[in-house]
């Protein structure tokens, strides 16, 4: 299995609070991604990174920001969490942009 960890694995928070999710990889892959998974929507890309300090938006980026200061870490921040951001968040990595993606175990976030 690819070395990808996500923390925390579960989080319950309140509306309006900031939340940061962390993705850590030990594979030295160039590309990292954040997705959210919701019933009926499959996986939707939030943000992705193609190198240190190089990031771009996905299809559902509103309300989210990311940072990548090191190859191995990709942070997803919800500046002010809303109930619509209750979801399961997955991090993924790939060596090339068109290559297989390897997924982390997911973080279940509940915003009350």
């Amino acid at each position: 299995d690819a070395g990808i960890t996500q923390s925390p694995r579960h989080k319950v928070t309140e509306t309006g609070t900031p939340v940061t999710l962390r993705c850590h990889q030990t594979e030295n892959h160039r590309y990292m991604y954040w997705y959210r998974q919701d019933p009926g929507h499959g996986l939707r890309l939030i943000h992705y990174s193609y190198g240190v300090k190089d990031t771009d938006k996905g299809e559902v980026s509103d309300g989210y920001s990311v940072s990548r200061s090191k190859t191995e870490d990709f942070l997803l921040t919800l500046e002010s969490a809303t109930s619509s951001q209750t979801s399961v968040y997955f991090c993924a990595i790939s060596n090339e942009g068109t290559d297989t993606q390897y997924f982390g175990p997911g973080t279940r976030l509940t915003v009350l």
Partner: protein
Amino acid sequence: AQSVTQLDSQVPVFEEAPVELRCNYSSSVSVYLFWYVQYPNQGLQLLLKYLSGSTLVESINGFEAEFNKSQTSFHLRKPSVHISDTAEYFCAVIPTGGYQKVTFGTGTKLQVIP
């Protein structure tokens, strides 16, 4: 831009019966195609992929998929399913020409009935 359609959200099938999970895509450029599988409470993992060459690709656990360019399809099949195949299956595409964002289908839940 590209899109992926998985028309069947759920597919129940009896153990040892054959199954086909359908995937159709739309794209104005050439694409690579993937099937990922997600077991309960886990992340997605690659099942098989088509990049080039033979249009029939196989996985190590008996699944196969055939790329049909004229019908823009990449259906997943298995001749005899097992209880352990119960999972959700996602079709995905990405353009071949440099990095662009991968597009996933909405998933098909395969339920194998004993």
